[in-house]
């Protein structure tokens, strides 16, 4: 049973990081306003959303199994409040911080229509903080940080997100690059 919890905790952690990577890449891809992999834009949008919800489920499994794992010795406070753990508090704390950020990202997205576009977008920018925090947590907290397979997975994840961000910052990013960015002060303030 002990072994099961430990393996489940590690497995769900790695898979949720891979999913989060896909979520970030899809989110950036959706922002471009382009179709991708033969999917229409609303499908890319839905894939982004559903992959994020799936990542949250796996994260609940990751946190839950390690919470009940007698070896990891997590307290309830470690699940919510970062940087208070007993073992590698900083790197464990990054995991807690990432988990809190994901809860904020998912909750604000589910309540998007009540929050309004502007507040939702500000919260959603936290994804760019959340993903590297999760990556560093994965690399430094667990017992697999030295293994070639985890390093390969994390390097591929990092390459995908870096490529997506580089594309995001490039000028031909959106489907209509010739559209002039709106600079109407009065409109920006109300959005």
């Amino acid at each position: 049973m002990t072994e099961t919890l430990w393996y489940a905790g590690r497995g769900t952690g790695v898979v949720s990081l891979v999913l989060l990577t896909i979520v970030v890449a899809l989110g950036i891809g959706a922002r471009s306003g382009r179709t991708a992999f033969g999917l229409p834009r609303f499908a890319v949008n839905m894939l982004h959303r559903n992959a994020a919800l799936l990542a949250l489920v796996l994260l609940a499994g990751h946190v839950g199994s390690l919470y009940f794992d007698p070896y990891a010795q997590l307290r309830l406070v470690d699940v919510v409040l970062p940087f208070t753990g007993a073992y590698r508090p900083f790197w464990l704390g990054l995991g807690t911080l990432g988990f809190d950020l994901i809860l904020a990202l998912v909750a604000s997205s589910l309540l998007r229509h009540r929050l309004g576009a502007r507040s939702w977008r500000i919260v959603h920018w936290l994804a760019y903080l959340c993903w590297p925090v999760a990556l560093m947590h994965g690399l430094q907290t667990g017992s697999d940080g030295d293994s070639w397979w985890l390093r390969t997975v994390l390097a591929l994840c990092a390459a995908l997100v870096l490529a997506a961000v580089a594309w995001r910052l490039s000028s031909p990013f959106t489907q209509f690059p010739a559209r002039v960015t709106r600079r109407v002060r009065a409109l920006q303030e109300t959005r």
Binding site: A30, R31, G33, P40, R41, F42, N45, M46, R112, H113, G116, A117, W120, Q175, F176, R179, L187, T190, R191
Partner: protein, 71 residues
Amino acid sequence: MSHLHIDWTACDGRGLCAELLPELLAEDDWGYPVARHGKTQPTVPRHLEDVARRAVDRCPALALRLVNDPS
């Protein structure tokens, strides 16, 4: 019955609504939605109301609304 209202100050022309509601909306040359039948606020027939609600839900700019017409 209900109709679609597009908030043009918010619309970013991302095209999700036109994909979900091709019966009502087309994209102009810049990707912004245009009503197919020339009305600025196209009427949504009952059988398309569920899809219209989904389009409202998925609009990245929250620029689309489904407004109920008093009957």
